[in-house]
Subunit: 361 residues, 4 copies
């Protein structure tokens, strides 16, 4: 039923994210962080008992055994959840066909659909994009993207680690492991900041941990639509690395460098001039970066806050749509999700053919 959301927090329902989940808890905190929404209902696990316990631990009003049940029941309630619009984690779907289907569905239903390629929510990342758009680095020539971790360098999936278990199982994760789980974040970040599409790629996927059916490491050469060149490397066996997402972009005038583990800093590197340490919270940052920043310079904002920025923008759009305004976007959408699935398929195809060049489109 249509509901007026203008004078209250939005009411959200959560699917998945039961106890033991990492990203479920992040979604919960991020959705509520700015006081614009509250999670009140959930179908938090396929195991009903676990679903109920999880819902209770979070003080949800209502727990359901399935998302279908939640959707049906909440729709009938006066104080039911508002989110028929959707904030979805990535990779968006199990396979490419589903991704294409989902695009149709979103287009047809005219939904707000936000995808948590959460790293685009960092203010420094948004400022990097603004600098590229302003022409501050000139024509892009070279891009180096890394996403390196080590948490799967041992066969964790055999020791009962739930996170490891589904990520290394083709039946649940689809055709790619590391490339799907984190490589797609790299691809998304590159295209988000540079404003350029990857034209073709040459990918060398490897499984280093014996008996694992999916890749746990990949190295790729990239060619961009403007003639720029690049490298993307992702790994879950890079010993000693935590969550090492980083990007460096080199243009005909200047370079940029950003590291997720020190997210409030962006290096700007003009040719022949001193490098500048750009820091979130300063007046010299772009409006887009400022809108994604909550505190003055020197007060570190992190993973949750970036994640919450995706929610904040999506919720603002939901409010706009509910009050008859046009959505303004700014967050990753179903098209980013589709692009990510295409990237996965092309990377796997390239590697299976012997690490040869394949076109993205």
């Amino acid at each position: 039923m249509p509901r007026n959301v203008s004078k209250r927090r939005l009411r959200a329902g959560i699917v998945g994210g039961g106890q033991g989940s990492f990203i479920g808890a992040v979604h919960h905190v991020a959705a509520e962080l700015d006081g614009q929404a509250e999670v009140i209902a959930g179908a938090m696990s396929t195991d009903p008992q676990r679903a109920r316990a999880s819902a209770e631990a979070w003080y949800l009003k209502r727990s359901y055994d399935s998302f279908q049940e939640m959707a049906e029941a909440e729709a009938k309630l006066e104080d039911g959840i508002d989110f028929v619009n959707v904030v979805c984690d990535k990779p968006m779907t199990f396979n490419l066909e589903q991704a294409q289907e989902l695009v149709s569905l979103v287009e047809h239903k005219n939904l707000i659909f936000a995808l948590t390629h959460n790293y685009t929510g960092y203010p420094a990342v948004r400022h990097a994009r603004a600098l590229v758009r302003q022409g501050a680095i000139g024509e892009i020539r070279k891009v180096l993207v890394e996403y390196i971790q080590d948490w799967l360098m041992e066969p964790e999936e055999k020791s009962g680690n739930k996170q490891a278990s589904w990520r290394t199982d083709p039946g649940r994760s689809g055709i790619a492991g590391c490339v799907g789980d984190i490589g797609t974040h790299g691809e998304n970040l590159l295209e988000f900041i540079s404003g350029l599409k990857i034209k073709s790629l040459c990918a060398d996927l490897t499984t280093f941990v014996e008996g694992r059916p999916l890749d746990d490491d990949a190295n790729m050469l990239l060619r961009l639509e403007n003639g720029g060149k690049g490298i993307l490397t992702c790994s879950q066996i890079a010993a000693g690395e935590e969550n090492g997402l980083s990007i460096r972009i080199y243009g005909s005038k200047a370079g940029l460098e950003w590291h997720q583990q020190e997210p409030n800093t962006l290096l700007f590197k003009p040719h022949g001039q001193p490098q500048q340490i750009l820091r979130t919270g300063f007046g010299y940052m772009s409006d887009d970066a400022k809108a994604a920043t909550r505190t003055p310079a020197g007060h570190p904002e992190g993973f949750y806050e970036a994640f919450a920025n995706i929610y904040k923008m999506a919720i603002a759009d939901i409010r706009r749509v509910e009050s008859g305004q046009k959505p303004e976007g700014g967050y990753p959408t179903v098209y980013d999700g589709l692009r990510g699935m295409q990237f996965i398929y092309k990377a796997v195809e390239s590697s299976q053919k012997g690490a040869v060049w394949v076109d993205m489109d």
Copy 2:
């Protein structure tokens, strides 16, 4: 009226923090971040109109014109606020007498009283304390504490900056400026991690910006109760610095180093051995650090999360007390607030006498 809080989020009321406030918004987010409390009522400004607008922007259920009014009204409501216990910002009071009075009050009423010396909420800070307690650095010999900023290096208080205005006004801030605002954080951090009291100090307070009635910079020599020596410097005129709180502690076996602007890292420096980069989120961290961490290593947690840790511990104690258990503490209390006021008074006394040594007790 007594309320059962075991199966729901706590209901909080907020005093101050109206639009334009920095720390008010932080309290709001921090209180709610873990889904353990919700702010539902407020007396957010002494200007009633601003109070109402602020409350509306945050979707509070009820707005009041004063905290007295809020207290009275909420106490009578079935679904009124639960926080008769208090989370208070620092410096705790306007002057030392009030601080002493407040200590009596808290002791007499047997309240949960948490003070947001928020920097003690960082997991790496808590791990530093754990290492000191374990004896990992040996007997403490030398401590270097800094809290340096630059936001008051120009006469901002004359350009309508509200934050600057009250912080440089003796009528609202008391006898100290920079020392009260940030020096106390340094003192608290030092005593928190080291487990040692400052025995005496020699403080040189300066006002660099002309016409400002309170100090905007201070350098201090410290002597600790165990014979250790130290330096504490705080400044709001240190050009180019953001929110530069840091601490280095040197013992007879090893050293420690922590910087608030990269809060997830703690350096451990054993004599003659490689320095170790300790990072939050790892299994090797102490239980106290783990309890203050929400995400795996490499997912940066920042200012909000540390602030929320103070709330989380205080709320846990409120729940304990409500269910008849004993509180467990872990957060700064009214005694830390009193200690901070004493520190302010001693630093000002030392400086006024010509930067001479004065005993803390």
Copy 3:
């Protein structure tokens, strides 16, 4: 004529390195740095006047117009130069055939021949190799090598920059630009530290600056002889980068990271444990690192000192040979030079065929 060198500094002659040269001056300083040799003669330029002026500026005893002349004349002198043995810069020769020839020559004449792949002279690099040899990082899985600069991002060769001029001229530099000039250092460093050979590569060479006949950027996928994978990227158009040579190696137990611009630090990254900051000058470093270190920890040693280490080892071998002992090596030799030329040829071949895989052997 045979000379007793045991009680005096070796006497060296220099070929090239006239005024305006960068690396010539480095050779001079490096050769003499440890007081084991002195440069007394030179054929410093093909322009005789420039040769003489250069020799005078350095207070050489004798200046020649050509290296042939120098060789002949010095051989006849009582106090002539000792270096019939050779320290040579890289790339070793103009083309692959010459490299093979030189190998034969060195083998046949039984000469000491040192190649200044100078980056292997850094103590931290030598310690990295020692750690790999000890098994401290386990079986190598992944290697990331970078050598990125920006000094050719504009067409410097058209503005009279001598350094730029010969490096972008196929008539003087051979078939590769950036790959030959700095890519080979990356290749050499990788094989030096890892002890592994590159088995095959897929290289994408690019010329970004219009009108330049040689590559100024390259991205490569690598496969190592043990099944490990890698990336090597080199660039002279990476805006804002100085002399950014770095290497990261990930094994089945731990990772290593080293950056040439902070050469006294080596990061050791054991899985699940704190990263260690290994620093030159400490007792815990390997003997090989210690032998390459002149000062206690905290006294930065840099480019010259690393360069001088190659000379130091070569001179020690010359002294050994002169006194009838066996040479001990430790420095890059003619075989490293040949390997570098092969690498250049394979990278160019791969790229010319469309960035396809080619085997190194």
Copy 4:
């Protein structure tokens, strides 16, 4: 006898620096590094046998048993040493009276006298001074100087460590330990870069290692002649620190930060603008910095090169004087040595009186 030095390397004699010495070897390398001088004679130890062995290891032409003997003998030789001018290490003398005497002597004899406050030889330090002189940071308000090490945190002097032995012995080191050995470097660096004199100080010296007769740690409050304030801390018991000399200067416009362990970088911190990473070797550096730099950006220069810069400037002055020109200076002189001795005496006086304020003049 007067000698023409214009067409040859200067000939130097060395006093001290025998085998096992650290700084003696540094002087040797530094003196010769630029090919402008060669050490040919020495009185390297008070133990004649050790003197001879040391001289032989360095291939000196002549070894003497005492500096008097060397002076007399060399003066008579055609190819004797040129250095009647002097490059001297710091602290310059054993006590203050000798320092004053030496000043008279140098003034009277009109000698070139260079003191190796070597840290002023770093190009980034010289650039910092240039920026201050240009007014780039405005009026100086606050200075933070540190020189912290840990190599004396154990009683090394009792385990036969020669370096430790003389540095902790009042009979050889004079009235101060840590303050004399490294504190003076801090004082010199501060006055060199800032161009300001320390007006008064309040110093708290401590001996942490039992049984040691001299200080091994000191904390000081400083007041500068222009009203600026400061802190100087030096320590040889700061666990895990190597050779941690650093300086931060804050003016009314901008701040500066430099760390000896990463000497090629200078941070420039303008208020409200991005921090700039200034790097040696770039065209934007000042002429004074450029004159002290030998390699392009990204080729690290370190301790030896900075040390050699003192020699280079002194040798250039010797050449000037020999050829009838006026000396140009640029290096620390006998007056810096005197100033250092005064600093030591005032710091000790302040501390002995209970860490009270004393005027420098």
